[in-house]
């Protein structure tokens, strides 16, 4: 208690000093600084960049963890990272890649692109958008700080009970997993809701549902999956938190609980989750392939239908992760059939992409290369998926490297390649600078070859009986050379990623400003400058058909027809409340993890409630940008 009072007094002093007690210009300087602008922004374009870059940061962290695991497995009986450390690496690699890398980068693209594609000036709830980002960031940071504070979680990314309970996972590791994911999960959930509201309500005049670009469609469907899939995770994490922190016994079978309930809850969330990360990649691919084939997307309506169908089916297949639990042949058969059914809409999509390219005027830009590389890679992952969906065979594949190979083919071959394609495609729109095509091609080829070299041998490692999540193997079991090849492949992926990093550096330092429409694009975002002005569209556009911008270009128009006269534009004000609220959750998370008397948790939650209060009685209703100001910026852009 004494320390707490000292801390509070110190904080008060600091606030007094910084807010003008001694230095009155300080506050002014902070408010005008770029850092403050980014920390308090509610602009979807800036939040998109924040999401994408912090997601990429966590992608690097997760990648280094993967590199360490492959280094451990390069030769038999290696002792680089053994036992607990290896378990921590594999847990953090999986969790970081799924929750802290793939999803934020997807949200980054969604934020940067979706409002532009539907002709909106921002998302429906800009404040909530900022809050969603900061909550994800707080959660991700919290989980990764576990490396410093008492050990990372080591119960696998699925965190199965009973292993994840206090008895078998003592120490704060799994607590970091529970609290970190819970906080990041709130952010993801409100982000998903926000995009649903945006896409339903803020489409430009004339933009009917069946004129929406494919990426917007997949974002919409993904948001719907998030809405229904994240609550089970929230519940599961809450129950696990109570089991670990407050002595309840939901998952403790010795006290009448059920360990299988965790698996159910986790996979009811977990299976839709894999579609959350793959569907937006499908959307990116549809945009990229259509643009660089100079053709309308083949079978647009069937693409929409397939997307919705995949989303719907994704909720009735979760038991295929639990075939070996012993739920019985009836259950296993039903879920096996449902799982194989998903191959049908996915197949529709693959054929539509192929037919889009057929007869098209294909340009092999980096984005298009990633899209073309994606198709066979993803199909291979899909094929092994159907193999795994057959329960009798699954009993053999279960928990072997075959499974690892399968999901890396769909997640890296699908999601990561999709994200890279999206990055190269929309980079000029996000940052106003092009990425270098030559470096981009080096990136693509090293990454693609490295990827196949890494993961293709893992199919056979699995079939030869190498279990996943085990840190070593015996020599002379036929596993040595394949493991060596697999580790060599990682070098290719690492070089590819470094090439991408250099490309980012190149684009900021040396690239010329990007034109508004560098790819001869088809959708609305290419009709405005790169990067777009803060209000996106001076006048909301009138949409006259699918591929609206392409239609106007074909009709010889230089710009989109306006749907409204030039008027003053209402903009939301920046706010520091989102980051403060995320900080509250962050402190609360730490407070729960350190247990004791939960002082930190209470302080954090009080801060959250204060922020809620501030927000509820906030009288700031934004500001207006007047027409003359808009005209001035427009002139600046044209000159």
């Amino acid at each position: 208690m004494g320390t707490l009072i000292v801390l509070i007094v110190f904080a008060l002093f600091l606030t007094a000093i910084l807010t003008g007690g001694y230095n009155k210009t300080f506050l002014e300087r902070v408010k005008n600084s770029k850092v403050w602008d980014w920390l308090t922004t509610v602009d979807h374009k800036k939040i998109g960049i924040l999401y994408f870059l912090s997601g990429f940061f966590f992608f690097l962290v997760g990648g280094i963890e993967a590199l360490f695991m492959r280094l451990q497995l390069v030769v038999p009986h290696n002792d680089l990272f053994v036992g607990d450390t290896f378990n921590e690496l594999l847990t953090m690699h999986g969790t970081t890649m799924i929750f802290m890398a793939a999803m934020p980068m997807i949200f980054g693209l969604m934020n940067a692109v979706v409002p532009l594609q539907i002709g909106a000036r921002d998302v429906a709830f800009p404040f909530v958008n900022a809050l969603g980002f900061w909550l994800f960031f707080a959660g991700g940071l919290l989980m990764n700080l576990s490396w410093i504070f008492g050990g990372a979680p080591d119960a696998g990314w699925t965190s199965y009970t009973s292993l994840a309970l206090n008895n078998y996972s003592p120490g704060p590791g799994v607590d970091f997993y529970v609290l970190g994911l819970q906080i990041a999960g709130i952010g993801t959930l409100i982000g998903g809701l926000n995009f649903m509201a945006t896409i339903i309500n803020l489409r430009a005049p004339g933009m009917t549902f069946l004129r929406m670009p494919m990426f917007t469609w997949t974002s919409f469907v993904t948001s719907t999956i998030i809405l229904f899939a994240f609550p089970p995770l929230t519940v599961a994490l809450l129950l696990l938190m109570f089991d670990r922190l407050f002595g309840s016994h939901f998952f403790d079978y010795t006290m009448g609980g059920s360990a299988v309930i965790w698996e159910h809850l986790f996979w009811i969330f977990g299976h839709p989750e894999v579609y959350i990360v793959i569907l937006p990649a499908f959307g990116v691919m549809s945009e990229v392939i259509s643009t660089f084939s100079r053709k309308r997307l083949f079978g647009y309506t069937s693409m929409v239908f397939a997307t919705v169908l995949i989303a719907f089916l994704s909720f009735m297949v979760w038991v295929h992760h639990m075939f070996t639990v012993g739920l019985g042949p009836v259950s296993n058969s039903i879920f096996a059939v449902a799982t194989m059914a998903i191959a049908v809409p996915t197949g529709i999509k693959v054929f539509n992409w192929l037919f889009t390219m057929w007869g098209g005027e294909i340009r092999f830009t980096t984005a298009m290369l990633f899209a073309i590389g994606f198709i066979p890679t993803f199909v291979m992952g899909g094929m092994t998926g159907v193999m795994l969906a057959a329960p009798p065979a699954d009993f053999q594949y279960q928990d072997s490297y075959f499974v690892v190979a399968h999901f890396h083919y769909v997640l890296v071959g699908g999601t990561v390649m999709g994200l890279f394609a999206g990055a190269y495609y929309w980079w000029p729109k996000m940052f106003g600078k092009m990425l270098n095509e030559t470096i981009g091609k080096i990136h693509f080829w090293t990454f693609l070859i490295g990827f196949h070299l890494t993961f293709f041998p893992q199919h056979f490692l699995g079939l030869f009986g190498m279990p996943r999540r085990v840190f070593t193997y015996q020599p002379g079991m036929g596993l040595d050379s394949l493991n060596l090849i697999s580790t060599i492949g990682v070098v290719g992926m690492a070089i590819g990623t470094i090439a991408f990093l250099y490309n980012i550096y190149w684009s900021f330092k040396k690239a010329a400003p990007a034109p508004a429409d560098p790819w001869d694009g088809r959708t609305l975002e290419w009709a405005i400058s790169s990067p777009p002005p803060v209000y996106n569209f001076a006048q909301l556009p009138l949409v006259r058909g699918y591929d609206a911008w392409w239609m106007e270009k074909q009709a010889g128009n230089k710009s989109l027809p306006p749907a409204e006269p030039l008027g003053s534009i209402h903009m939301p004000s920046s706010s520091f409340i989102p980051i403060l609220m995320a900080l509250g959750f962050f402190i609360a998370g730490f407070g729960f993890i350190f247990r004791g008397d939960f002082v930190g948790a209470i302080i954090g939650l009080v801060l959250v409630i204060v922020c809620l209060f501030l927000r509820s009685f906030d009288r700031d209703h934004g500001y207006h940008i007047e027409p003359d100001e808009i005209e001035e910026t427009n002139k600046g852009v044209q000159a």
């Binding site: 909106a120 000036r121 921002d122 429906a124 800009p126 339903i200 309500n201 803020l202 489409r203 430009a204 005049p205 719907t224 809405l227 229904f228 089970p232 309930i261 159910h264 009811i268 909720f315 009735m316 979760w318 038991v319 739920l327 019985g328 009836v330 259950s331 039903i334 909301l540 749907a563 409204e564 534009i569 209402h570 903009m571 939301p572 934004g622």
Partner: protein, 103 residues
């Protein structure tokens, strides 16, 4: 933001809603939650033990309806989207529950 955007599918309420309605249903929901906790903690002494589960289920159902109609505006016109998504939610919840219990 929103008033600048045209939207074809807004839920249109005939008149602005009063905050009182929201406050009252919020209060009722808090009371029902507290009551459910109280009944379980004092298990046996307030309500007979075999009645606890049905009772808190009744509390839960009342809360669901309050939630749907006051906060999620299910009663308003033009709420087709809400209806679609709520139905979808119910379908998925039922599938999950049936899957867990029967499988």
């Amino acid at each position: 933001m929103t008033e600048n955007q045209h939207s074809d599918n807004h839920a249109v309420s005939p008149k602005p809603e009063s905050a009182v309605k929201h406050l009252i249903s919020f209060l009722i929901m808090i009371i029902l939650t507290a009551a459910a906790f109280y009944v379980v903690i004092k298990s046996g002494s307030v309500v007979a033990e075999h009645l606890i589960l049905p009772l808190i289920l009744v509390f839960a159902v009342i809360q669901v309806f309050l939630q749907l109609f006051t906060f999620m505006h299910l009663g308003q016109k033009g709420s087709a989207y809400y209806a679609i998504f709520i139905m979808l939610g119910i379908v998925i919840a039922v599938i999950s529950a049936v899957g867990i219990i029967l499988m």
